[in-house]
Assembly symmetry: D2
């Protein structure tokens, strides 16, 4: 970490230096014509950069080393491969997660599971607990929804992926293969810590205004508690453009794969909120180097209870899988 000190405040520097040394760090000073530069030597991951930068004597601060460790590819150069539901994720393998926004009833979830399995999906997704902007909107089937997912798993052989919203629901997820943390909970730190004590693979979605660094720090929360099975998921960020619900940030894919060894997948359905963008954005995500896709598929979009029509139909999913299989060898990925 490099701290630039305002020249006119140089005489107040002593207090800061003492504080830094109390944190167990060493210091390297360099005085210039316009500014004095203080380099911090040692493990600065505990140092709050916002604290430092808000000091009156500080012109600005810059991290040299990333604040994340277990997530960092520098300390773990090889790709992490995660096993879930009898399938490997990451390390050059591409996975398909597909299913409806919400679990609605047995016929629906089993029907979709069998259909997407046939097209080549590896996991079934489906919401049992639903984060909804309005308290008056359908909040999901809850525990019953998870039971139905388990039935669908049994009948289709697909692993299941579903979202957790409440720290006290963890017991309900014992047969779930991948636990999803939604975008709104990316910085629900108590939930992340709790999931860090589980061994279940965690699918961590990027928050609507989550920077890449914050997203990786949230993964670090899970890993720092002992759970190394984190899959990152880009799902669109909030920008000034309102034609799409969010702006899918595909450049995050190659960037995050540089910074971390964890697998990264893309959710093209929630990013745009428009079903007709699912296909082009799925192809683009694959070409950008994604390790997989999580796609909403519904057998009857207009009747779905939520987000229905950002879903594609099973036959559209089938076609899409074929197109993606054509792209995979071009980007050195395999199923």
């Amino acid at each position: 970490m490099i701290i630039v000190i305002k020249n006119e405040k140089k005489n107040e520097l002593e207090k800061l230096i003492k504080w830094i040394k109390n944190q167990g760090l060493d210091i390297h000073m360099s005085e210039g014509a316009n500014a004095t530069i203080v380099g911090l030597i040692g493990d600065t991951s505990k140092i709050d950069i916002d604290l430092i930068s808000s000091l009156d004597i500080v012109e600005s601060v810059k991290r040299i080393s990333e604040p994340y460790k277990k997530v960092n590819r520098k300390f773990h150069p090889a790709d992490t491969v995660i096993s879930a539901g009898g399938r490997e994720i990451g390390g050059g393998r591409f996975c398909f997660i597909a299913g409806p926004c919400s679990v609605e009833n047995e016929e629906q979830i089993v029907g979709i599971a069998l259909a997407v399995k046939k097209s080549g999906a590896h996991f079934l997704r489906g919401g049992a607990f639903k984060p909804r902007t309005s308290p008056y909107a359908f909040q999901g089937m809850g525990a019953d929804g998870i039971e139905l997912l388990k039935k669908a798993k049994k009948k289709s052989g697909l692993g299941i992926v579903t979202e957790i919203m409440n720290i006290n629901h963890l017991d309900l997820f014992s047969d779930v293969d991948i636990i999803q943390v939604g975008a709104r909970n990316m910085q629900n730190f108590d939930l992340l810590k709790e999931l860090g004590q589980s061994k279940k693979p965690i699918l961590l979605k990027r928050g609507l205004s989550g920077t890449i660094e914050e997203w990786l720090m949230s993964a670090e929360y899970v890993m720092s508690k002992g759970n190394e099975n984190v899959i990152l998921c880009e799902r669109g960020i909030r920008t000034f453009e309102h034609y799409t619900r969010n702006t899918l940030d595909l450049s995050a894919i190659p960037l995050v794969k540089e910074l971390t060894h964890l697998p990264v997948i893309v959710d093209p359905s929630h990013a745009s909120g428009l079903s007709r963008l699912v296909r082009p954005m799925s192809l683009a995500a694959t070409a950008a180097g994604s390790d997989g896709l999580i796609i909403e598929v519904h057998n009857d979009p207009p009747r779905a209870l939520c987000d229905g029509a950002q879903s594609i139909r099973p036959e559209q999913f089938d076609e899409l899988v074929k197109k993606i299989k054509d792209i995979l060898p071009i980007v050195d990925k395999r199923l």
Copy 2:
């Protein structure tokens, strides 16, 4: 709600109309040269606008009535006045909440409480549970911090305000006067529902990327469960400008006061992250019509364990209170 249907898809309209009627709504149709317009009559608050707008046959959708009810000034024209710690908030009265970022020890928190009380503060703030981007940063004193706040309350007579992060901690907050929900938890819906069953005043911060409508919907979550004591708090939104940590959106103050009857206060400390901006932004917030301020005050900023230097010192707070008292009559507010 008005739904604009693509003209070339008019023949697929029937299914949608059936679905709308199943939701207990009536319909008013109007066919134009370029589009067919479907007006929904009845309570549309349960209708997911994103679902409708993602349908292939839909050109676009527009809400006519707001999706919030209990929060809505239309149905509750008079200002809500909230009682907390023996003090009224809202309805023309201006309140000061002041204190350190984190509770550190008894001497610190009692010392600051007495100092800000003397300057005119009505409530003491202080973090016991701290949401930190890094798992390696100080996470707050927890339950012990709340005990120290209670000691400071006893000695100073100030009401206390502190943040909850975990649904299972609610019991610890029984002597807290106002429970704060932080920006990162604005859409932690399970936490909001739980707080809705309490009777404690809730200070609901706007999320970093929370739209005004989403923020009000989160207040609706609390109110819909029976707790009508919600205070809104603007604390800066995330934008492209990185010179300040966030961009304080002061135009939200008059807007939100139009839309809702709930009190709205401003946090100028977290918005910018720069202590030297606390004074001008506090004056500006007051002039914009805020019902109060929540300000970080610390007796020794550089030694503070977190956010320390976005804090001002007690003597700066004292001066600031005087300036604000001069502005209050100009904007028809009183202490």
Copy 3:
């Protein structure tokens, strides 16, 4: 256009209705329990939606028909194919535009032209007039730069693409094949009007904070003056994420292709500002349906006078072209 009138202001509606009729429009009224809705019938493209929405009696406004006409695919369903430098752009054909950020000298520009031609480029790009944030930075070779581009065109047979910044420079561009309007000039309306009187193909970059609608309206400026040869270029928008210089909005590609018949290409070099992202983002843009790519290629990046290192080297460009050729048939495009 639909205008929702506040119910309590209904009695002030007459003045607005008179004003609307003075604009040559008809009106369709519909009174509801919470609001009165005024539908405008006729050509509303001259109506300023911001004017209407800022009226005190207006709750909100919504356009039904797009404010652009010549750009609109509704009135021109077939893809526009643009001829430039002996090459067709759009209509299923994919084009490569490649070259250095700035023209530096004859050897450089001719060298790069021959190299990218060999790899399969159709056009040579190179900046003669450079928009630079700092007045102290190199501003380009100006007219001399255009002369060197013409030499490179002669030697390589490639069409040339270069940026105009000043309305008075148009004469210098008579031998340029495609005139580029940079992101910062997307709403330089006097420049757009002037270019509308030319017949030259215009490459119109999206502004850093340009919405899709504003971008299309800027194309409408050019087309409304008589020049129908507009190529749109997505190059990244400004968001809160600062890890990349801008966030490439690839979902804009399929969306814009729905809304307009004009060709749309992508600039992956300026979007991220990182040369190592050029390849994955080029592949992703192609998979998303782009009609071409404009890529910075430099034979000696570290010595380049500007943006040098967001450039890739000719041998990297050569490899990239091969990969893209593999993707084209999957998305029904051809060279």
Copy 4:
């Protein structure tokens, strides 16, 4: 400037060092465990930080000294006071600029001029050339509009402020007291250079996505050509929040006043696009330390040809001026 070099690329450092030295700069190296840090000594204002940061061997770059010079308060500590139309702007004096969005006819502009003069305005604003998103919208009266402004100036004694959009129109502005550069032209560098050769005061609006640093660099463009009379104007930035047209960034006021000696004023009318926000935002801007306000005032908002209803009426302006006069002494400003 500090450049952090990736450790694994240290051996490629020589080329960069040579290039830096060719720019006339000296170097200070410091090798750490994780990175090598290169400090640049000398005038780095010509160095393109984006170029450096895009190099493969570079981990990150940080400026120590600001890239602007003439604008910089460090080199010019005293407030700049600008004389225009017989009135001083800046240096503790507060000014009011008021008038309609567009000049419409003599009666209108003279009527408003006399009204706002009576309430205490120092300058009359009014658009003759109007930047409009749509080519079909009213583009202003042009040269005739400027003639009418001159008549209003003669009758009221107010200085006049109006926007330039075209480099070739400068001659028409010889009797204008302050030339406005609109938000969309903040980075129209050729226009800025031309205005730098004039001696007229320039009112430089912040662009919709202009960072504070870019805004100051645009002022530097004008000043570097010899014109030191630049007034900055905050008018709202583009964010995800769409309830207001833009988000007024009032924290920019104290920040910009720290960084530069130039006066800074606020435009509350364009920021929100809602006339009912003009009053609270004007008071807030004044309390935040603004050197003045530019406010849209119209005698008949609903009939105005553009932006009409973000305007307030003369009697509302009159009341607002009184309120602001009450705030001025609290923030150490005078008329």
